[in-house]
Amino acid sequence: MLLPGFGHWIRGERRRGRLICAGVLGLFATGVFVGGIDVVDRRESPVWFFAQAGTGPVAFGVDWIHQNGFKGVDRGTGVRRSALPDERVGPGGWIEPGNGAGRPPKVRSVAKVNELGMLFCAVAGMLNLIAVLDALFPSDRGVSPSRSGRREGAGAEPGVERGGGA
């Protein structure tokens, strides 16, 4: 959980670990690129973050940056929130009217772009959970006799999948 693919890497499966790391971080980075930093939000999208957290410290780090670097405190309610398009975050982290002088620290993503960005990051987290389970419980399990005969016999493809289940 420290870094995607790290479990495989320390087990000696260096290439597998690197590929898992590249795949998981690539999906996560694509999600943030598509939807902006707004797609990783522990406070406003807790259910999505539950899945995204599977990516590990990367997700928590991005969320920390989002909460502390791109949100401001509402003077009226004292609640930390994203600035609206006509607002900006002033000195001290307070949300102030923009008066056309600047922009908020980030643009909020909406509609499908927001949904797809969150989905990319959530899929990255869930795939990393599969990788973590595979690193914790390495197995060559489940190859049924009928299928193993075909797979491991003469001419078996070197790239066949491990396991026999779904």
Partner: protein, 88 residues
């Protein structure tokens, strides 16, 4: 003044969203590719011919989703109106 305003409102990668509202469906391709990279890395016994399997799985996902979309389109636009026509 105009340049300062332009800089102030400029797009910042990884902070602001991209403008993909008209071609959002093309994001299926990187999604399928990313899923395939991780899935095949975990599932394959040997990583020989890894990329061939990754591209094959990515193509299967994309074509499968397109096929499902076509089937659902036919179901919603053709089949359902014949089975249960809208009143009026």
């Amino acid at each position: 003044m105009l340049i300062e305003r332009a800089i102030a409102f400029a797009y910042i990668p990884f902070v602001d969203p991209i403008d993909a509202h008209r071609w959002w469906f093309l994001l299926l391709i990187p999604m399928a590719f990313g899923v395939s990279v991780v899935y095949k890395a975990v599932r394959m016994r040997s990583l020989d011919r890894y990329w061939r399997h990754v591209f094959g799985m990515s193509a299967s996902i994309v074509l499968g989703i397109i096929l499902m979309g076509a089937v659902i389109y036919v179901l919603i636009e053709w089949v359902v109106p014949r089975i249960a026509p809208m009143p009026g």
